[in-house]
């Protein structure tokens, strides 16, 4: 309980330290990439829960991310002004789901409010995850990987081929998302620091939920399913149901990440749905150590940041592919794991006992 609190606190301190550092070095423009990193990290920790703790793989999480992002982008930019008179639109308007604003050219634009778009998008993803998760999670190992990969490819091709979703150009002009009065998730330069803290605040909240879950009865049951599914079932754990729920949960994290990043960036493109994105997320979870949320989030922070800064140049996707191969070959337990801490502890102990002896 307290260890968990200290870890979360330590992480929050790191986040503040990064901001202070950029402030002092007059490089606060880096916060834009760090903010985007936060939203990708939200997806990564959800995926880590699925892969590391429940032992189920998904190579289609970019698909969930993209569905969330695209749907929210579409709903908040698609002009309903022409249909204003229809009873359906009038009803939506009455329910307060719509908002009127001026478009770039000063024309009247009637579209969904970001809040209603966000909720609708995330709920849609949850339903989709539930529907495909049911049959797909009956598969194990390679077969599950292939099925989720297939899902990811389908979403990518749909996004790329649909003209109302902007085809290869994606959707731009997505409005900022004012989650509370005065707190706007969006790309305006003035709100950079605020956006940074809002984004990482959301990640820390998500992290807290997942850490709580891991330490709970459900978390134990998920580890049991990972370890020996038949024995877990024999202990009264409804394994199929739990796998489905954790799959939907991690898809939900991906959807929220997709929605928020799209509003932050003001746009979304088909590359967000690409299979290479899914592979990248799995690579980050793998290098972080599969069964370590902290490992996953730190690796996500580092790798996504450098990737977004363009440090890997045109080899961006290749870098993540290479990382995945190297990790699987040389450190299948990831770089950040308890073992490292254990090694460090025993090393310190040895030094101390030496000192005592001499």
């Amino acid at each position: 309980m307290s260890a968990k609190f200290i870890q979360i606190f330590g992480f929050a301190v790191t986040i503040v330290a990064i901001q202070v550092f950029t402030q002092l070095t007059d490089s606060s423009f880096h916060l834009t990439q760090f903010t985007m990193t936060a939203y990708y990290s939200l997806l990564v920790i959800g995926l880590c829960m699925l892969i590391g703790y429940a032992g189920q793989i998904s190579l289609g999480h970019a698909g969930f991310f993209a569905i969330g992002g695209y749907m929210s982008a579409f709903l908040t930019t698609h002009n309903l002004a022409a249909m204003k008179g229809t009873p359906f639109i009038a009803l939506l308007s009455k329910l307060g789901l719509l908002v009127e604003r001026k478009d770039l050219y000063g024309g009247e634009l009637l579209a969904f409010h970001p809040w209603s778009a966000c909720i609708l998008s995330v709920c849609t993803v949850l339903v989709i995850a539930y529907v495909i998760g049911g049959p797909v999670l009956k598969l194990k190992g390679h077969y599950l990987a292939m099925a989720t990969l297939g899902f990811g490819i389908i979403i990518y091709r749909i996004v790329l081929g649909t003209s109302s979703l902007g085809a290869a150009d994606g959707i731009s002009g997505v409005p900022g998302f004012s989650i509370f009065p005065g707190v706007m998730i969006g790309g305006s330069g003035s709100g950079r620091i605020l956006n940074y803290y809002v984004a990482w605040g959301i990640v820390i909240a998500g992290m807290t939920f997942l850490l709580n879950l891991i330490g709970s009865r459900v978390g134990r049951a998920l580890s049991a399913i990972h370890g020996a599914e038949d024995a877990a079932e024999a202990m009264g754990i409804p394994t199929a149901n739990y796998k489905l729920r954790v799959f939907v949960l991690s898809a939900g994290f991906a959807a929220v990440a997709g929605v928020l990043l799209t509003h932050y960036n003001g746009s979304i493109g088909p590359s967000e749905a690409s299979v290479m994105k899914s592979v990248r997320y799995v690579a980050i979870v793998a290098i972080g150590g599969m069964t370590s949320l902290w490992g996953a989030i730190s690796m996500s922070l580092i790798l996504n940041y450098f990737s977004l800064r363009g440090s890997f140049g045109t080899y961006d996707d290749a870098v993540f592919g290479v990382i995945l191969i190297l990790i699987m070959l040389f450190a299948p337990d990831g770089l950040i794991r308890k073992q490292v801490l254990g090694d460090l502890k025993s090393y310190l102990k040895r030094i101390r006992s030496k000192a005592v002896a001499s």
């Binding site: 134990r220 580890s223 020996a228 024995a231 877990a232 079932e233 024999a234 009264g236």
Partner: protein, 257 residues
């Protein structure tokens, strides 16, 4: 005595093999019943049918007054039936304590949302789970191993952890699948005493076992299977002198059978 488990004309066929053939028997509450038979007699299949791992082709399984055939294993487990496995199935990368805590799953209720939000009632529930697990570890002399990774233990200790995990379910019926396999003589004797102790706490035991000494010592009744069919169901002494059972085990003249 009341009847806890009744099996009626249970059958299961795997392709050309009639693994279990119209087997009927019952288990009295508070008794130890053994299930024996030569290799391939269908003992484990019968176990898997009762615990819901596989669904029967026909027949009825009545447990605690409700029919459980065709239910999923977790549904059967939640009705009060716990089992151990012929090949030990502990949860790797989890401590002895955590393994046994899993056994409390059906007696607790914190779900995904309660877990994520760490709602206060889950704290007291966690505490109860922990206390019960410690109680069970004390019963099985596992206290000193509480924080050791379960799969790193010796074979005999792993057996005990698996037994502890099943006991944590507080089952009405405990199914033990060859618990003495791989144990030496003194360990087997200890196991026999332990099973008797478990029965004395009010848990009914159904055990598949090859070790005849153990079976004859502890069982109240013995069911003998051969080629999927029931050939005897009686008290240990009667089983020892049953000619058909002797035939099956010692393989007397085929003509006599």
């Amino acid at each position: 005595m009341t009847t806890l488990l009744t099996v009626e004309k249970l059958s299961k066929r795997f392709g050309g093999l009639q693994a279990v053939n119209e087997v009927s028997f019952s288990v009295e509450a508070g008794s130890i019943k053994a299930l024996i038979g030569p290799n391939g007699a269908g003992k484990t299949t019968l176990f898997n049918l009762i615990s819901g791992v596989i669904a029967p082709d026909s027949g009825v399984i009545n447990f605690c007054g409700s029919q459980v055939q065709g239910l999923r294993p977790h549904q059967v487990a939640s009705k009060g039936m716990a089992r151990t496995f012929q090949h030990i199935r502990l949860f790797p990368k989890m401590s002895v304590l955590e393994n046994i805590m899993i056994g409390r799953h059906i007696h607790s209720r914190a779900g995904f949302v309660a877990g994520m939000l760490s709602i206060p009632y889950t704290w007291s529930e966690e505490k109860q789970i922990r206390e019960k697990a410690h109680e069970i570890m004390a019963f099985l002399d596992l206290e000193s191993l509480a924080h050791v990774e379960a799969t790193s233990l010796s074979y005999g200790q792993q057996r005990n952890v698996e037994l502890g995990r099943a006991l944590a379910c507080e089952p009405k019926l405990l199914l033990l699948d060859e618990p003495a396999a791989g144990l030496n003589m003194s360990e087997t004797t200890e196991l026999g005493a332990l099973i008797s102790r478990i029965r004395n706490t009010g848990i009914t035991v159904l055990i598949v076992e090859h070790d005849m000494g153990l079976v004859m010592d502890i069982s109240d009744e013995i069911l003998v299977l051969s080629y999927g069919k029931k050939i005897a169901d009686d008290k240990p002494l009667a089983i020892q002198s049953n000619s058909e059972v002797i035939n099956v085990y010692l393989g007397e003249d085929e003509d006599d059978a």
